[in-house]
């Protein structure tokens, strides 16, 4: 058996890790977006649920089914040796909201992906981040064949706060996704600066 002992001497760099969430409705392109910028293939973690599904899941006839599985896709971007950004795609099903809380804790910010053909699918995500004052950017994923709307029309349709940036993007395009992520961090910085201002009531 080969033991890896050679590197034992030097202490590994302890990176600072940050996370950005990617939310939105089913099939809106969350995993595509993560994959467009991640240096690793989007990975998937699973959490086994037991009690949570009981009142919701009809288990008649499947008495053996005590668990259900929920998956989260995530990707990684190493910005520097000591600075790593993780992207987490949130699970789509509404009843896994409690997992969002775990994901959202300590998150730098979020991207809410929207599809103009099914705008209502992202209402829940917008609502979630607004309530928890997590800075977010709405990325309108421009699908081929879907009519284009100006960002302002989307802002109105979603009844967004003036300060929330709305950007048109292509979840498959690396450059486009980079712009969206830069937008999230910039927005988070502005939000932090605004929070530091003394409250004037």
């Amino acid at each position: 058996m080969i033991f890896r002992r050679s590197e034992r001497g030097k202490a590994p760099v302890e990176p600072v890790t940050l996370k950005i969430l990617v939310a939105g409705g089913f099939g809106v392109g969350k995993t595509t977006l993560v994959g467009a910028v991640s240096e690793i293939k989007p990975l998937r973690t699973e959490e086994t649920l037991s009690e949570a599904g009981r009142p919701v899941d009809d288990t008649r006839g499947v008495a053996g089914k005590h668990t259900t599985t929920v998956a989260m896709d995530f990707g990684r971007i190493t910005l520097r040796e000591d600075l790593v950004l993780y992207l987490f795609g949130t699970p789509g099903q509404d009843r896994f909201w409690f997992l969002w809380d775990e994901l959202a804790t300590g998150a730098l910010g979020a991207v809410v992906l929207a599809d103009t053909r099914r705008l209502e699918d992202c209402f829940a995500a917008v609502d979630y981040f607004e309530r928890r004052s997590i800075p977010f950017v709405v990325g309108v994923n421009c699908f081929e064949g879907a009519s284009r709307y100006p960002a302002d029309a989307v802002r109105q349709a979603l009844d967004l706060d003036e300060s929330v940036p709305v950007v048109l993007c292509d979840a498959r395009d690396r450059e486009s996704v980079k712009d969206v992520l830069v937008g999230v961090v910039e927005h988070a910085m502005q939000a932090a600066a605004a929070a530091r201002e003394p409250a004037t009531t």
């Binding site: 058996m1 033991f3 890896r4 590197e7 034992r8 001497g9 202490a11 590994p12 760099v13 302890e14 990176p15 600072v16 890790t17 940050l18 996370k19 910028v37 293939k41 989007p42 990975l43 998937r44 973690t45 699973e46 959490e47 086994t48 006839g61 499947v62 008495a63 053996g64 089914k65 259900t68 599985t69 929920v70 998956a71 989260m72 995530f74 990684r76 971007i77 910005l79 520097r80 600075l83 790593v84 950004l85 993780y86 987490f88 775990e102 994901l103 804790t105 300590g106 730098l108 690396r174 980079k178 992520l181 830069v182 961090v185 910039e186 988070a188 910085m189 932090a192």
Partner: protein, 153 residues
């Protein structure tokens, strides 16, 4: 992606069994072999039934696990460790790993990974760096670094 939709497959497997286990259904029961049939060892059997690790508050998904440089000897030789424990130490020795990456890499639920990491912290084989505490944004200079790092990708 290695196991897309394995969960749904498992669900189908369970749905395919009408009534009690082993009773043949009216139709041919679909058969699942190897990995399709689900894990051989139930996930929480690896933690001996523990779902939380004492004296360790919940590890964040992006908390980084680092192999202790001073950890003497090879974890492979430690009889008190399970194969999963050894896997974690080995992965972390190559490079620091986030909790989420370890879970994905070893294909274990996050809850199980948390307990196993807690054991290893107790044994002083690894230590965990806490990410920026919630409710506290990272330093502005870090955010600037993130922006320039993203632009330079």
């Amino acid at each position: 992606m290695s196991d897309d939709g394995r969960g749904t497959q498992r669900t189908k497997a369970l749905r395919g069994i009408p009534g009690a286990r082993g009773t043949p259904g009216p139709q041919e029961t679909p058969r699942w072999f190897d990995d399709d049939a689900g894990p051989v060892v139930r996930p929480y059997a690896m933690t001996r039934g523990r779902t939380t690790s004492p004296a360790q508050h919940r590890l964040d998904l992006i908390a980084v696990v680092i192999a202790e440089a001073g950890a003497a000897g090879a974890p492979e030789a430690d009889q008190t460790l399970s194969p999963e424990h050894v896997d974690i130490v080995e992965l972390c020795r190559d490079a620091p790993q986030s909790v989420a990456e370890l879970a994905a890499e070893l294909d274990l639920p996050i809850g199980v990974i948390r307990v196993l990491i807690g054991d290893l912290v107790d044994d002083e084989l690894v230590h965990v760096t806490r990410p920026v505490p919630p409710a506290e944004l990272p330093d502005e200079s870090i955010l600037r670094d993130v922006i320039s790092g993203l632009r330079a990708l």
